[in-house]
Amino acid sequence: MRRSRPGRPAGESHLSEAVAERLADAMFALSTPSRVLILGCLLEGPRSVGDLTSILGMEQSSVSHQLRVLREHTLVRAERVGRQRVYALHDEHVIALLLAGLHHVEERGRSGAAAGDSARSAPGDRAAGSPSG
């Protein structure tokens, strides 16, 4: 953080340190499989906590908890429909981000399988954690 130089000439990088921090925060929100699963569900449309719980088979408390984290990172917003509280993806950027991410992963999975490079992908699997939850 201290190594930032505000007077850096333009053109070297168009990401300022503050923007990089914010982007890293947004990506951090995507760094847990259960949160990604929730976002994947919301890609198909707004859902209530109850819907998410039954679709994903997760505990209600942990769904609410992960939704709070997603809201904190402005990936998800809550709206009231009648009496129910419904969660939706925050805006179209989030949809684009998720689709691009999915595309990226599927692409890499295919090319990785084609090259037979299983060793390279091992650390990545570990970092992603167990997707079973």
């Binding site: 951090f28 847990t32 942990s62 904190e72 570990r126």
Partner: protein
């Protein structure tokens, strides 16, 4: 040939450094909790996973990692602590010196457990209670923490106003100034800057040592009498319980666990974090003992012996007995302790709020970056300061309320702590060892009894408390607690990762939502039933007291 193998091994080391399962905690809620350790006295890069062969590098790592334990335990000598030690010294001489030493041991055991939970799980204490004991216990622990913390912060501001009044500063100046300083401390969004400011306060807390030296040289070195005759024994029991109540408080557990997470200390650094807790215990013991002994020496064999009023009168009397400097040093110690205490206690509340609400909560973040974290911190400080300044505010009730409520909360916090530290899903190979369980369970049982007595005696000042009954209760509770500790360790022999497995330093709690539900063992049920019964008893006592207050007025 030899050279080549060396190169190959170095190459393997590099590979291991990159791909070894570094203890990267997976339940973090805030990205700022991941990265380099940037302590007040040094830095450890996150990529540093290699061994530390030389002593110089180990000391450098220790200096960088040290902090959470030292700060939390130095902050224990806060306004309430200092005035209670002063009272014990002034009224009872050196009679309770042993108790402070015992309490230092209790603090060490408790804080080590909290620090270990933080380093291994990466989650705050409040969140672990929510996840492992359910929503209701979680909400209970959190709301109790917030209420007691708020009352403690009010007492810290009372400490500030008393200390600066000694120097002739009006509370209307001193309290707002202190509040502004406190709000400014974490605002920069630089963990290192905050920790350096706290270190400065920790360093200032050592003024108690010159205070002791001054008193020692001015007071006649007569043998300090064991205790005055005119004090009734029930006062003594109350003094014991008050000393315990001010030294062991739940906010310390919440603070150290969250601060370890926020400082990015992982399981790999646990030996260093333990050293940090030991250092903090020494700082605590030194400060507390210095004040108690200074007050004991200054007031022994004087009419003031046994006539404690409050911390500001102690400062004035120390000036009369041991000179201008002694009074001033005591006032500085009180001011410093109040600020340090208020800073740490408020932070423990803000950490817990962020922990439960999923809001960003880190000292690495600026106001703009984490508005809820800094906002809740500033709001708590401002509200507490305002209450102290309201003329005729019932500050006496606040002080009593702190002790009574702390009595209700403390044992519950310790029961959760003990159960969490035996939860294999949470701590894996890092669960408590058998001897630690025996010690910790004995301590919890004894504190449960003593806190019960404190609650009852603060609510009913005239209730009978005699030494014999107290001793029998405490000893039997301690024995039961020890047995319970043995049970805690023996409950599951078939544990997945062994305590001495080679992967232990890298073991870290899996994502918290993927954990299996807690094992429903008899031990756990017994602990929670005792806790419920205890809370019910305390609640009944409070209700009776309120009814009496209403009918009396």
């Amino acid at each position: 040939m030899n050279n080549q193998r060396g190169a190959a091994e170095r190459g393997r080391d590099v590979t291991r450094a990159w791909f070894a399962p570094s203890a990267d905690r997976r339940s973090l809620l805030d990205r700022a909790h991941r990265g380099d350790i940037v302590g007040a006295l040094g830095r450890v890069p996150a990529a540093d996973t290699g061994p530390r062969p030389s002593r110089r590098r180990r000391i450098a790592a220790l200096l960088a990692i040290m902090g959470p334990g030292v700060i939390v335990l130095a902050a224990d000598n806060d306004a309430g602590g200092i005035s209670t030690y002063a009272q014990a010294g002034q009224d009872y001489g050196l009679r309770f010196l042993w108790l402070l030493i015992v309490m230092a041991g209790v603090l060490l055991v408790n804080q080590e457990m909290a620090g270990r939970l933080g380093a291994v799980t990466g989650a705050g204490h409040a969140r672990l209670i929510y996840e492992r004991f359910g929503r209701r216990w979680g909400a209970f622990a959190l709301s109790d923490l917030l209420i007691v913390n708020f009352l403690i912060i009010v007492t810290e501001f009372i400490g500030v106003s008393l200390a600066l009044r000694y120097f002739g500063v009006s509370p209307y100046v001193s309290v707002p100034m202190a509040a502004l300083v406190l709000i400014a401390l974490p605002l920069a969004g630089r963990f290192r800057r905050w920790e350096r400011a706290m270190y400065l306060l920790v360093a200032t807390s050592f003024v108690t040592v010159p205070l002791l030296v001054l008193v020692r040289h001015s007071a006649p070195l007569t043998a300090v009498p064991a205790g005055p005759r005119h004090l009734a024994p029930e006062g003594t029991v109350l003094m014991v319980v008050a000393l315990i109540g001010t030294t062991v408080a739940p906010w310390q557990l919440f603070f150290q666990q969250s601060n370890v997470v926020d400082k990015r200390i992982t399981a790999r650094w646990l030996p260093y974090e333990r050293a940090d807790t030991v250092a903090g215990t020494l700082v605590f013991a030194l400060g507390a003992v210095a004040i108690l002994v200074a007050c004991a020496l200054a007031f022994s064999a004087t009419p003031l012996h046994g006539a404690f009023i409050d911390a500001s009168t102690v400062a004035g009397e120390l000036r009369n007995r041991a000179g201008e400097w002694a009074g001033a040093l005591f006032a500085v110690a009180l001011l410093n302790g109040s600020i340090l205490g208020a800073g740490a206690v408020t932070l423990s509340a803000s950490y817990a709020i962020g922990d439960v609400s999923g809001a960003k909560h880190s000292l690495h973040r600026t106001w703009r970056d984490a508005p809820k974290f800094h906002g809740s911190y500033a709001a708590i400080v401002a509200l507490a300061a305002t209450i102290v300044l309201i003329p005729g505010a019932p500050l006496g009730i606040v002080t009593t309320g702190v002790q009574a409520l702390a009595g209700v909360l403390l044992p519950s916090a310790l029961v959760f702590l003990l159960l969490l530290c035996n939860d294999r899903a949470v701590l894996g190979p890092w669960v408590n060892t058998r001897w630690l369980n025996v010690i910790a369970a004995t301590v919890v049982a004894v504190l449960l009894v003593l806190s019960g007595l404190l609650t009852i005696s603060t609510l009913f000042p005239r209730a009978e408390n005699d030494w014999l009954v107290t001793a029998i209760l405490v000893i039997s509770a301690g024995a039961l607690g020890g047995l319970f500790g043995l049970r805690l360790s023996s409950q599951d022999a078939a544990s997945p990762p062994g305590r001495s497995s080679p992967g232990k330093p890298a073991w870290t709690m899996p994502s918290i939502e993927t954990l299996p539900p807690p094992v429903r063992s008899l031990t756990r049920t017994i602990a929670l039933v005792i806790l419920r019964a205890y809370l019910l008893l305390a609640a009944v006592a409070v209700v009776i007291k309120i009814v009496r207050l209403i009918t009396a007025s």
